[in-house]
């Protein structure tokens, strides 16, 4: 009987909630996805530069090193973002409802 009384009180509220707005630009998921793609591209590019250099195709050492630095920094950035996200998620999970 308790449940029956609560249920009608809840349903109008959820029904009255505004529909999620459409076309509000790229969502967080898209931004994160494209960032991951960029980082992955950097990793692949660095790998290609190293392979080329090992095969004797490279012109100079510093281009190889710079490709590695770019891949390294962008990966660290992604790792930091991920750490922060997980931290925020845990924070929400810890929250008392």
């Amino acid at each position: 009987m308790e449940i029956a009384r609560i249920a009608p009180a809840l349903t109008p509220k959820t029904a009255a909630m505004p529909a999620p707005p459409q076309n509000v630009g790229p969502g967080f998921r898209d931004i994160l996805g494209s960032a991951i793609d960029t980082v992955n591209d950097k990793q692949l590019a660095a790998q290609q530069v190293i392979a080329d250099f090992a095969a004797g195709k490279g012109d100079n050492v510093h281009d190889v090193m710079l490709a590695e630095v770019e891949a390294d920094i962008s990966f660290k950035m992604l790792a930091q973002t991920r750490n922060k996200l997980v931290e925020a998620y845990k924070e929400i999970m810890r929250m008392d409802v």
């Binding site: 960029t38 100079n60 510093h62 920094i73 930091q80």
Partner: protein, 145 residues
């Protein structure tokens, strides 16, 4: 999302490294050919000099940006010295003329060594710029921690 603007200073320093490498190559060639009397063009070897030019970013060149945005340095060209060769008296030399004089390159090896030190130091300066850029980015990322 593009990381290109983040890494623009890396590519600028990278172009500096490439430019100093080209300068080092020219100096090495000058030292190696300090006594060369025969060249494909005829006459003694002529000293090489590397000319640098600054590069504007592609955004500036395509008119997207008003203010000049530097995008590094490039080797504009390698020019041959027009200084006359030194004439030394060496009648036994196969390339000696009728008076026994040989035209040898007008290259002072000590001067080339000094230029080489300058090139090496400039290379190190570019490396230091890259190191500092890495440190700066790492420090910025530590904000999140």
């Amino acid at each position: 999302m593009s990381f290109d603007s983040v890494f623009s200073s890396l590519s600028v320093s990278g172009s500096g490294l490439g430019a100093e490498q080209a300068r080092m190559k020219a100096i090495a060639e000058n030292i190696a050919n300090a006594n060369t009397t025969r060249t494909p063009e005829g006459g003694p070897y002529r000293r090489q000099r590397v000319i640098f030019a600054s590069v504007l970013s592609s955004a500036m060149r395509s008119g997207l940006q008003r203010s000049p945005a530097p995008a590094g340095v490039r080797v504009a060209g390698v020019v041959r010295s027009t200084e006359p060769p030194i004439s030394i008296f060496d009648p036994d030399h196969p390339d000696a003329d009728k008076t026994g004089h040989v035209a040898v390159p007008n290259i002072s090896v000590p001067n080339e060594m000094i230029d080489m030190i300058a090139a090496a130091r400039s290379y190190e300066a570019n490396l230091a710029a890259i190191r500092n850029f890495k440190t700066m980015v790492s420090k910025a990322m530590s904000i999140l921690r």
